[in-house]
C-alpha cells in the first residue's frame, strides 16, 4: 500500500478507523512510514472524538415525545373545529390576494374622495353658509355674485397639481354695498348682508364732544347737536346725519 492509497482508504473508513487501521495492509504501511503513522494517529483521534460526540447526543427525552404528541392532538382538534381553524389556520393565498385587492381599492377610493373634496372647496367662491344669508335678504333680488358655483370635480381637478398661489377672491361688486339715504354719514360698513332689513331712524341729541374732530373744530362753541341715527335691526348704528347745531 502506498501513502496515497492509505489516504484514499481513510476517506471511506473513518468511522471504524480503529478497527481497520490495526490490521492488514494499513498496519504494515504504518509500521514503515512515519508520516502515515502520524496521519493515522490523527485520524484515529478524530474518529474517537467524533464517536464521543455521537454518544453525547444521547436519547431523545420522553418529555419531547409527550410535547410532540400533544401538539399533534391540538392540531387535529383545530382542523376539526372550523371556528378555530379560521382563527389559527393559515390564510389561503387566494384569500390573501382578495384582501390585498380590497384594501388597495379602499385606499384608492379614499384618495379620490379626499381629492374631490379638495377640488370642490377650491371651486366655491363663497362658503355654503353665504347662500343661506343671501336667501334671507328681502328687498333686493338674489345677486348672482353671491351664488355658490358648484362644479363637478373633473379628472384634471382630481389630479395632483403643483401648488400655485391662490387665486384672489373676487372683489365685492359696488351695487352690493347698501347705500345710505342722502346726507347720512356711514358709521359702520353696511351692505345687504349686514343690514338685511329696514333700518330705524332715531333722533338724538349729542354733546359737541361726541362730534367728529373736523366738525367739532368748526362748531367749537356749540353745546349740543341734534342728529338722526340710522339703527339696524341688530341695534347697531349704521349712519348718522347732523340736523341742528345749538350755539
Amino acid at each position: 500500500m502506498t501513502c496515497k492509497e492509505l489516504r484514499w482508504y481513510f476517506e471511506d473508513h473513518l468511522r471504524d478507523v480503529e478497527v481497520r487501521s490495526a490490521r492488514g495492509a494499513v498496519a504494515e504501511h504504518v509500521a514503515t512510514c512515519a508520516d502515515c503513522a502520524q496521519f493515522v494517529a490523527a485520524q484515529r483521534e478524530l474518529g474517537r472524538n467524533l464517536r464521543h460526540i455521537r454518544e453525547a447526543a444521547g436519547q431523545v427525552p420522553e418529555s419531547l415525545d409527550t410535547s410532540v404528541l400533544l401538539n399533534y392532538r391540538r392540531q387535529m382538534a383545530d382542523q376539526k373545529d372550523p371556528r378555530r381553524v379560521s382563527m389559527s389556520g393559515k390564510f389561503h393565498p387566494r384569500l390573501l390576494w382578495a384582501f390585498a385587492a380590497v384594501a388597495a381599492g379602499l385606499v384608492v377610493a379614499a384618495g379620490f374622495l379626499l381629492l374631490s373634496r379638495h377640488s370642490t372647496t377650491n371651486a366655491v367662491v363663497y362658503p355654503a353658509s353665504t347662500e343661506a344669508k343671501t336667501i334671507s335678504v328681502k328687498e333686493t333680488p338674489r345677486n348672482p355674485a353671491f351664488e355658490v358655483q358648484r362644479t363637478k370635480p373633473t379628472r384634471a381637478a382630481g389630479r395632483r397639481m403643483r401648488p400655485t398661489s391662490p387665486e384672489p377672491a373676487p372683489s365685492l361688486p359696488v351695487h352690493a354695498v347698501r347705500l345710505l339715504p342722502e346726507g347720512f354719514r356711514s358709521l359702520m360698513y353696511c351692505d345687504e348682508l349686514s343690514c338685511p332689513q329696514d333700518m330705524e331712524m332715531i333722533r338724538v341729541q349729542l354733546p359737541s364732544s361726541a362730534m367728529p374732530r373736523q366738525v367739532s373744530s368748526f362748531i367749537q362753541t356749540s353745546r349740543s347737536v341734534t342728529a338722526d341715527v340710522l339703527v339696524g335691526p341688530d341695534g347697531i348704528a349704521r349712519g348718522i346725519r347732523f340736523e341742528e347745531i345749538e350755539f
Partner: protein, 204 residues
Amino acid sequence: MENFDNCSDGVLLTRALAGEEPAFLALYQRLKGGIFRYAFYMTGSRTAAEEVTQEVFLMLLKEGGSYRENRGEVGAFAFGITRNLVRRIERRERAYEPLPGDDMLDNLAGSDEREPLAAQVARSQVTARVQAAIASLPDHYRQPVVLCDLCELSYEEAAQRLRCAVGTVRSRLNRAHHLLAQKLETLRSRRPDIEATGTEGCLI
C-alpha cells in the same frame, strides 16, 4: 395495533395528516432520532435540539400538505425544515455567549457513572473542544461532517439532503477531516484544564 413497517414515510405522513394518530407516532419514531441529533450537533445544545424537533413536527403538520412524494423523501423534506430552524436559532443565539460549564454539566448528567468523575470531566472538555472545532468549520464543510460522521448517514443520503453530488460530499468531507485534524493537533498541544489523573491530581 396496526403495523406500519411496510408503509413508506409519505403514506404515514398522509395518514397522519388525515388524523391517524398511530401513523403519526410511527412517522415520529422514524424521524425523531435523526432530527434531534442533527439539531444537537449543529447547535451543541440539548434544549435547542428539543425545541427544533418539536417545531419540525409542528411544521410538518402545518406544511405537510405541500409535500410531494416525487420530489424526495419525507426525511429530506423534514431535514430542510430542520436546517432552516437551526439556522434561525443560530442567528438568534449569535448575540449571546453561553455560560461556561453549562454544556459540560449537561454532558456529565448523561455519562457513564462507572467512569471516574475526573475522567468524565476531562473527556467532556475534549468533546466540547471538538464540538467547538466542528462549529468553527465553514457551513459547507460542517454539514457533511454532521450528516456523515455524526448522524451516520451514507454519502448518498447526505448528498440527497444537501442537494449536491455524492462526489461533492466526499471531497468536502475529506477536506473537513483535514481541517479538523489540524485543529485537534492544535488542541492537543494545549494542556486540558483538568487532567484525568484521579482525585490526587485534582488536589495537587
